[in-house]
């Protein structure tokens, strides 16, 4: 079972993502900010990391930069969840090492499909 770490500060959205991915058959670790995600990633070594960009304590960008400095987790694909129309966010995310962007708004089905696609690329 592939393991996915998510970082999203809005509880309702975090719960919905967690519920959707669990229902799709993945093990999900939920965190509420970039710092927590950075710390949990080193312990859990997930197969995929989904992060919101704008979060308290540590943004998604900052967490991604720090993750890429740790050998054990630097190759785990990081996917940012970002609002549509924020093109600069997409560019910044890719520059700091994100593998992909999922643009909000997205439906739960679209999220599952994208995650499946990304994990398949890794042979998971």
């Amino acid at each position: 079972m592939a393991k996915i770490l998510i970082a999203e500060d809005e509880r309702d959205i975090r719960d919905l993502i967690m519920f959707t991915l669990k229902f799709a058959g993945y093990e999900v670790i939920a965190t509420a900010n970039g710092e927590e995600a950075y710390l949990r990633a080193q312990v859990e070594i997930p197969d995929l990391i989904l992060m919101d960009v704008r979060m308290p304590k540590m943004t998604g960008y900052e967490a991604c930069i720090k993750m890429k400095e740790i050998d054990a987790i630097k190759n785990i694909p990081v996917v940012f969840l970002s609002a549509k129309g924020q093109d600069s966010e997409v560019q910044t995310g890719l520059r700091v090492g994100a593998a992909e962007y999922i643009l909000k708004p997205f439906s739960p089905d679209q999220l599952t499909e994208k995650v499946r696609e990304l994990l398949k690329k890794q042979g998971k």
Binding site: R11, D12, I13, D15, L16, I17, F19, T20, F23, A83, K104, P105, F106, S107, P108, D109, L111
Partner: protein, 262 residues
């Protein structure tokens, strides 16, 4: 997986979202799982619970608990244990029967009722439901819409005796009489191509209390929530948005709407 213990037996449920509580009850084939898209759609404004009733999914399987009145009592105990005071109740097939009976017995606990594919009488259910094995029933009842696998894969988990017992219960009650005693606003949904439950005739529907309203999904079979999820979810959200006590007669099917994460 979330569970509660009722009378020493495990009852499985899942929950999503925050807000006023909703409880989803599944039908004869499948489990809580086929409510997932509906729960997702409702989760931003409501706390959506979905249960596996006795004999289905991951809940306990003991024949003495399968009669309709025991499923109704289970719902009451579940609400009591979780501290849920008043709910919007959404049931399908068997779950619709349980929901209707619950609303009749505990009117003060139900704010509104949405029943899909509700048999108003024992003769309204296709006899095949009583005779075919569950996986075969699932193939017959479910279309090939993308969401239907969630019910298909869960079908074999049910105890066939739970289905049989519910149908025996249906013989013993007159669900049309039960409906006449309902004081809660009630939205009834039927699939035009439902092979399992026959929709009531227009004169029967016209004779139901004022707070009842029926909507037919032209392209749907027994599972309107899976056959036409966007319209179903939109309708449910419109129903839930009505002020408490308002009749659902003003509701109609609207353009498709899909819950998205912002």
């Amino acid at each position: 997986m979330s569970v509660v213990t009722l009378d020493g037996e495990i009852l499985h449920y899942e929950v999503l979202g925050r807000g006023r509580p909703l409880i989803f009850l599944h039908g004869w084939v499948g489990s809580w799982r086929y409510w997932v898209p509906t729960m997702q759609a409702a989760s931003m404004g409501y706390r959506a619970y979905a249960l596996d009733m006795w004999g289905f999914g991951e809940s306990a399987k003991r024949i003495s608990m399968y009669a309709l009145e025991n499923q109704v009592a289970m719902l009451d105990q579940f609400m009591d244990q979780l501290g849920i005071a008043k709910i919007a109740l959404i049931g399908h097939g068997l779950g619709a029967l349980v929901a209707l009976s619950f609303a009749a017995r505990f009117p003060r606990l139900v704010d509104r009722l949405m029943v899909s594919s509700l048999p108003l009488g024992a003769g309204m259910v296709n006899a095949r439901l009583k005779t075919s094995p569950l996986p075969e029933l699932a193939e017959w009842m479910l279309g090939r819409a993308p969401g239907t696998d969630s019910a298909r894969v869960e079908a074999p988990k049910a105890d066939p005796q739970a289905v049989a017992a519910s149908l025996e219960s249906l013989q013993l009650i007159n669900s049309l009489d039960v409906a006449q005693g309902i004081v809660t606003p009630c939205l009834m949904v039927f699939g035009q191509n439902d092979l399992v439950v026959q929709a009531p005739a227009q004169d029967v529907l016209a004779g139901l209390p004022e707070q009842f309203h029926s909507i037919f999904f032209e392209q749907a079979g027994h599972f309107p929530m899976l056959d036409d999820p966007n319209k179903f979810n939109r309708l449910l959200n419109d129903f839930l948005a009505l002020p408490s006590g308002d009749s659902p007669r003003q509701l109609q099917l609207k353009e498709e709407w899909k819950r998205r994460v912002r």
